[in-house]
Amino acid sequence: MAEPRNILITGGTDGIGLKLAYTYANGGNNVVVTGRRSAEDVKGLLAVNITYIKADQAAPDEAANAIIRALAKLGWHHCDLAILNAGNGKAGDPLAENSRDLINRIDVNLTAPILISHALEELLMASANSKLVLIGSTSHRGASNFASYAASKAGLNGFARSLREEWRGRVNVQIIHPGPIATNMHDKAGFDPGIIKRIFLNPDFVARTIIRKIKKGRSPTSISFAARIIDYLTLRNWFSS
């Protein structure tokens, strides 16, 4: 069996992050997840082999510091895989987004992942084969109903494109852009996708595809409806599960 790897996943208390955490933990890895809630509040949500760090990305610098401090306490001297997945979104008229919304969106979705990448640099460099994965969104090309969200994800895309070149040969920097997924993200933002939620990507499929894409390491890469169809057509999926 392969050596257990040290894996950090931000936003691991729900949705895709939670699914990724369980899959990697069940594979025998050391998995640490972060979230905005208190440890008390997420008790019972996470399996015993998953460690939790509270790091609310609404304060990006504090979140990055909290993560580094906690990892040091856990005795991590290297990090093999960091998946920066935490994020929030809000649909609506872009001109109705007030300054609080805009500040929060950029802090949580863009500034925090950048500062966390920055803080993780030494731990990532200390692993021979490390990967830094950013979770973007297909809306990074612009979305008239998700303006600040699209902006934050486009920012991540630009960051990944440049840092991937900078860190080439040291850390594999990758950005993965999923299409709309049927997670709770939309409800949390007070947005009811209604009937179209039925055509949103299945969270299990997205988590599985993210893991496959991380193995391949290509960037940028998207997970879309076309990928869903290919997934269906792969015999492997007919026989498994």
Partner: protein
């Protein structure tokens, strides 16, 4: 016409100021540099209104918006203020990145939504966002700058339909290297300054694009060519940028 310009004291902002004032328009100039604003006041007198505000300071930014609400609406809003940070990603302190993202991304978003959302721009008016040619090419050695400029480009594109509904036009500008102090500070050593576009020339391109209500402006031949190459072969383009910029970077600057 009434024009609002942020980052008006130096570089491109100053060139825009001078050009628009020279053409007889009224300018509201925003900058954090008090002395520079005083100088503008002295030269242009009652043709200009200057307001000192540090756009990296959230409280000051919100105060500024409140103050602007007491003015008559603008015709053109040019969100030009921006800073950079160049060097290895890991060598620049985190607080410099926070400041950069506030000035380059957060502030123009807050100003655009704040002004357009409360009828502070006249029907038929325009908002101009200044992105960067790095949107087409990537920018190893300035990954957070690149992030900030990609973000603002996607934001501009995203609010365009909502703005069109209330009669506002959005222009996004993707300038390559400009001959300003900003470029001087952040370019690799020995780079040829004469190859950079003069700020006056860029300002003239922007004014023409605003008049023509264009959506996107890649000013000059280098920018237009880079845009096409960036589309055709994004990874090759980023690798090329690494060769011409990252591997030649001198000292870290932020």
């Amino acid at each position: 016409m009434r024009v609002l310009i942020t980052g008006a004291v130096e570089g491109l902002g100053r060139a825009l100021c001078d050009q628009l004032l020279g053409n007889g328009h009224f300018v509201t100039a925003i900058d954090y540099n008090n002395e520079g604003l005083a100088e503008l006041d002295q030269i242009w007198g009652d043709k200009i209104s200057t307001i000192a505000a540090d756009l990296s300071d959230r409280a000051e930014l919100l105060n500024l918006l409140e103050k602007l609400k007491t003015d008559p609406p603008f015709d053109w809003v040019i969100l030009n203020a921006g800073i950079s940070a160049t060097g290895r990603f890991e060598d620049i302190p985190a607080n410099a990145y926070q400041k950069l993202l506030r000035i380059n991304t957060e502030a123009p978003m807050i100003m655009a939504a704040g002004l357009a959302g409360s009828n502070m721009i006249n029907k038929g008016g325009s908002i101009a966002f200044i992105s960067s040619l790095s949107h087409a090419t990537g920018y190893p050695g300035a990954s957070v700058y690149c992030a900030s400029k990609d973000a603002i480009s996607a934001y501009a594109k995203s609010i365009r339909p909502a703005c069109a509904k209330i009669g506002l036009h959005i222009l996004t500008v993707y300038p390559g290297p400009v001959r300003t102090n900003h470029a001087e500070r952040h370019a690799p050593k020995g780079a040829d300054a004469s190859k950079r576009m003069a700020p006056e020339v860029l300002a003239a391109h922007i004014v023409t694009a605003l008049k023509g209500k264009k959506c996107r402006l890649y000013p000059g031949g280098v920018a237009k060519l880079s845009r096409v190459l960036g589309k055709l072969a994004p990874n090759t383009m980023s690798r090329l940028m690494r060769k011409i910029i990252y591997e030649k970077l001198g000292t870290t600057r932020f």
